[in-house]
């Protein structure tokens, strides 16, 4: 917003706990101890976010290595094995150690605040889940130096993030790299399931008086749905990892094709997890959009019930589309037809969401502060990404596009263009709440515009080599295929993205010490988290709030036109 410190209209002061927080000096050791043993949902949320940010930089640097290697044909920057490790670790890290933790982090931080609760339902389970996930991340990265081989020649996994059988079986992957992969994902799965149980119990059992299910912020609805999806999709992945470990350690034959086992079974198990997983990642991004777009359009979200229905609808449809990752594996024509149709059906609820965001902006008074800029970028890129998804779901076309760079472009369009963009928006929006200070708007604009340019250079262009027959997961390519120039542009775009990210990281650190003070409600927003000081005290709300509508702070700020009069 142009003037973040807009005075809060009359009446609201009374609603705020503005007691200054007195901070006594603590030694570093005490602070550390405090963070390690904490069960406060806000601190755990921040731990998740910090952890994910570190891995975002790590996996981003891996992506840079990938891009440098592919900039020219027959490059020798990385050898075949290191390259395979790079993209496996990049994919695995981005999905399990960046995407999931950062979303759980925001969920942990925001859900209790938004529903007027003082903490999560099971604070200790919450801490346990975080530390298990953190352990999983460190364990996975230990594979670089652990396992077989001398120092520096460790055995990081090199079987791609979907780790198709039987490549992962002992005869084809001796050594310990696949074990690291399977055990790390197993541990991270346990952590995710724990957090999901916690969020579900929080949303259903910890709401403040008056916060009926039809009044909770859409973000809380989304986190409840996501948690349900995590329960029914991460569990199959965990089960499949157990089977893989049984094969590798106990000589089982689940995926051992020589003993009659099946390679397709793993593919099914992985994608039964893998497809809903991508909605686990994207739904929270939708959640952020549901909170941010209305505030910066100065209008209530359009069609709240439809948004809830669409969220739940996406979750259910997404459970029945997994085999669109397997159109080339040799399904019958009937199977291909079915999964084409079910996949296309997802676009109906997502379309409803997209149009409702547009309708929210329609007739509003849009203020282009950085969170809104990123949200607009998200909206635009989401539509393109979704439409390339529709192209991929056309199974005959998928026979051409599958495992080509077109697919890589499609999913980065969603994962970076939609999810990462919304995560950035969420940072700019909630950072003031979390730290008490605003992020710099100037740096934010630089970040946004560089990101837009870098993103489109990278991922728009990346579609074309796919259409020209360039498969993914290749460490090098032949110069006579005509992919070279395109790959150079892609690499150049990635460099610009890296600069943008560096600005972002700098902004995070710099503003923590030197940012403008935020005050409790810098964006003139309407949900309960803005009724507490920034950062909120440990107990969140000194007295349980009581609400009568979806926008309690709107009611307070506009007693002449309260939402509660319409509900």
């Amino acid at each position: 917003m142009d003037a973040p410190s807009t005075p809060i209209p009359g009446g609201i002061e009374g609603a705020l706990d503005v007691t200054p927080q007195t901070r006594s000096r603590a030694t570093y050791l005490e602070v550390l101890h405090d963070w390690v043993v904490t069960v406060d949902h806000k601190k755990i949320g921040l731990l998740y976010i910090g952890f994910a940010l570190i891995f975002l930089v790590v996996a981003g640097l891996e992506a840079m290595a990938i891009r440098i290697q592919l900039a020219v044909p027959h490059n020798t920057f990385l050898d075949a094995r290191s390259y395979n490790r790079m993209f496996t670790m990049h994919g695995t890290t981005m999905v399990f150690l960046v995407g999931m933790p950062i979303l759980f982090g925001f969920g942990n931080y925001l859900v209790p605040l938004m529903i007027g609760a003082r903490d999560m339902a099971f604070p200790r389970l919450n801490a346990f889940s975080f530390w298990v996930s953190a352990f999983a991340g460190i364990f996975l990265y230990f594979s670089f130096i652990g396992g077989l081989g001398l120092a520096g020649t460790g055995t990081a996994p090199d079987v791609a993030w979907f780790a198709y059988a039987p490549l992962t079986e002992r005869p084809f992957s001796p050594g310990h790299n696949v074990d690291y992969w399977a055990l790390a994902l197993f541990a991270s799965g346990v952590g995710s399931i724990g957090t999901a149980i916690n969020i579900l119990a929080t949303v259903f059992c910890m709401r403040c008086p008056g916060m009926t299910l039809s009044r909770i912020p859409l973000l809380a609805w989304i986190y409840a749905t996501v948690s349900f999806l995590v329960l029914v999709t991460i569990s199959p992945l965990t089960a499949a990892q157990v089977m893989l470990l049984i094969d590798r350690y106990l000589g089982g034959h689940f995926f051992d094709t020589q003993a009659g086992g099946s390679a397709i079974l793993w593919a099914h198990f992985f994608w039964i997890f893998g497809h809903p997983e991508v909605y686990v990642l994207v739904l929270p991004a939708f959640g952020f959009a549901n909170e941010i777009i209305p505030v910066f359009s100065r209008k209530a979200i359009f069609g709240y019930p439809a948004m809830v229905a669409a969220t739940v609808g996406i979750a259910f449809i997404s459970l029945g589309v997994w085999a669109h990752h397997m159109f080339t594996i040799g399904m019958t024509s009937l199977g291909n037809t079915f999964f084409t149709l079910s996949t296309m059906l997802v676009s109906i609820p997502t379309g409803i969401k997209t149009f409702n965001w547009l309708a929210t902006m329609w007739g509003g008074k849009l203020r282009f502060a950085t969170p809104m800029l990123f949200s607009v970028g998200f909206l635009f890129q989401w539509v393109i990404a979704g439409l390339t998804g529709i192209m991929l779901s056309v199974s005959p076309w998928n026979w051409q596009l599958h495992n080509s760079y077109f697919v890589v472009a499609h999913f980065h369009y969603v994962l970076v263009g939609a999810i990462l963009f919304m995560i950035f928006a969420a940072f700019y929006y909630w950072y003031p709440k979390m730290t008490g200070r605003m992020l710099s708007e100037t740096l934010g604009k630089w970040h946004f515009w560089l990101m837009i340019v870098g993103f489109h250079l990278t991922f728009d262009v990346m579609h074309i080599p796919g259409l020209l027959g360039m498969p993914r997961q290749i460490y090098t390519y032949e110069p006579d295929r005509g992919w070279t120039l395109l790959n150079q542009i892609v690499t150049f775009g990635a460099v610009i993205q890296a600069v943008a990210m560096a600005i972002f990281v700098y902004n995070l650190v710099h503003s923590y010490f030197a940012g403008k003070l935020a005050g409790p409600d810098p964006w003139d927003a309407w949900t309960l988290e803005w009724s507490t000081p920034s950062p909120p005290p440990t107990y969140n709300f000194p007295v349980d709030p009581v609400v009568a509508s979806r926008r309690p702070l709107w009611d307070l700020k506009h007693p002449e036109d309260p939402d509660s009069a319409f509900e």
């Binding site: 259903f204 008056g210 009659g260």
Partner: protein
């Protein structure tokens, strides 16, 4: 210091929410169902696909005793739940102990079965597809029984020490929910492994 004006007193007074213990356990059970589904699917998928023996029909016997014990334990734990809800701590302890015993007998019969399969029939987890899927599915269930028994035993010890009170009724019910789930899964596993798959 003040908060959002409490202009809806009546609302606050009648505000009721589900118990988080129950919601948490229900969520856990959903996740567990998904895990079992995957193992069950693998079992079905590999039924009759072995390239070498032994085959289920040759080596498996229907574990009637264990099944009766496990399924009836569900009934006894229900009695125990009932007892504690009505503050009847003596019968609670008895029914709880009976549940634990029946569960332990079930585990014993499974152990015996495995012992026979390994020493007599030479079927291990690495013998063939049947071995792999059988041991992992039944073993997964047995693991849940073990966890359940440890929890039952903990409560039993506390109960014998007089530390369990009627006000713990709800927690006991949450635990009983888990035990009912373990029983229900056995119905599926039993039907699949010993009736359909044999």
């Amino acid at each position: 210091m003040s908060t959002v004006p409490l202009q809806h007193e009546s609302l606050a007074a009648t505000w009721r929410l589900p118990s988080r213990g129950r919601v948490g356990m229900a969520s856990l059970i959903v996740a567990e169902c998904a895990i079992f589904t995957i193992f069950v699917v693998a079992y079905i998928y590999y039924m009759g696909r072995d390239v070498s023996g032994p085959k289920p029909h040759d080596v498996l016997e229907v574990p009637i005793l264990g099944t009766v014990c496990l399924l009836s334990s569900s009934f006894f734990i229900w009695l125990a739940e009932h007892a504690i809800a009505h503050g009847n701590m003596r019968s609670f302890r008895i029914w709880w102990a009976v549940t634990f015993l029946l569960g332990a007998i079930f585990l014993g019969t499974t152990a015996q079965e495995w012992h026979k399969l390994i020493t007599v029939d030479h079927l291990t987890i690495s013998t063939n597809l049947f071995g792999t899927t059988y041991y992992s599915l039944v073993g997964l269930h047995a693991t849940h029984v073990v966890v359940g028994l440890i929890l039952l035993l903990t409560v039993l010890l506390f109960a014998l020490a007089g530390k369990v009170r009627p006000r713990h009724s709800e927690r006991v019910q949450v635990l009983a929910l888990y035990w009912h789930f373990v029983d229900a899964v056995w119905v599926v596993v039993f039907t699949l492994v010993y009736l359909v798959g044999r």
